[in-house]
Symmetry: C2
Subunit: 195 residues, 2 copies
Amino acid sequence: MDEKAETRDRILEAAGRRFEHYGYSKTTMSEIASDLKMSTGNLYRFYPSKLDIAEAHALAHECDEDAMMEAVVVSGGSAGTRLREFHRVILEHTFKLIDESKKIFELAQAISRERPAYANRRLAIERVYLVRMLEDGIAEGLFERHESLDELAEMIQCATMKFRYPQLYNCFRIDMLRRELEGTMDLIYKGLLKR
Amino acid sequence: MDEKAETRDRILEAAGRRFEHYGYSKTTMSEIASDLKMSTGNLYRFYPSKLDIAEAHALAHECDEDAMMEAVVVSGGSAGTRLREFHRVILEHTFKLIDESKKIFELAQAISRERPAYANRRLAIERVYLVRMLEDGIAEGLFERHESLDELAEMIQCATMKFRYPQLYNCFRIDMLRRELEGTMDLIYKGLLKR
DNA sequence: ATGATGAACAATCAACAAAATGTTCAGTTT
DNA sequence: AAACTGAACATTTTGTTGATTGTTCATCAT
């Protein structure tokens, strides 16, 4: 690892520490630079903007979410059960963030707002997991075949948007969300079954 | 009709004119009063607040939307076809509002934000139409029976939230929304079919 | 030549005062 | 007594100004 990459990492670490403690908007570039004993201007030799540091931070923490989703996909049980569990886990995770990790949630929202491509990329990654479960379901004779599993996954995402972004609806009742997710997944599940 | 109700109507008319032309937030109570050649304070003898005038205006225009939904429900064709058409018509209507009637859209958003009960009531009314179509589908042997059709309708609403409130996702591509709605309705439709 | 600085620049934010607006109600008019 | 007014009140919005923050870049240091 060369020195430039090392400094990038140090910046990321220092910034991440502040983002998680003070939040994205309350963290200033000059504070980050000061923590690292360098000038504010120097930061821009490593990252084009404050938002790029935020995105890099989010990227560096994707593996946590990916691991979470991967765990569900490779767990035992039928594809149908896993599909439900997948959405349950995502809802619980999102809700936990909203409830307990406000600074991280704030960071995620800032990125989503300013970097729609990032949010879309996350959705695309999630679809990969969905497709894997759909494939499993087809292989075990549970689900109907479909010309494009990626498109099917996209439709599942459209149908579950309310549970992915509950904050957009000012919907902060986890008990209600759970009930609704269960009912919605029932409907989707039946729509996937082999006839 | 007594004189008080007549004045209420006149207020509603004058306010509605301004809401639709200047938007809700740019319309002042003193302007409305001036249009009617009365004092600002007098308005409060007829309506408790500005927001109540807005809500009354929306109420007075519900019949347009209700008629639209009713027309789909009573139109010919199978329940499945009507269900798709219902959601298509709502999406097109919403999109048209966003695109062409910005002031009316702004008014609807102000009410939704401040009067959640109003938005929930609209959803409940919509469910009545959904239930009617579900009943038809069951009667014609197309759809599976269900213990509570109102709950089922609620789940359909959860699954189609993205198309009811596209503005929440900064999603203003009608071609994409149409495609997604079609795919999502496919999935929901299959979930409703009798096995 | 490469790496780093810190002042300048541009944009945004915060504080505050003034203005505007929604609402109330004592007083006036009908 | 009922209907209406318009000033007062409370709240919100707007405009101004100075401070802060993100970013750039000429200059300096290595």
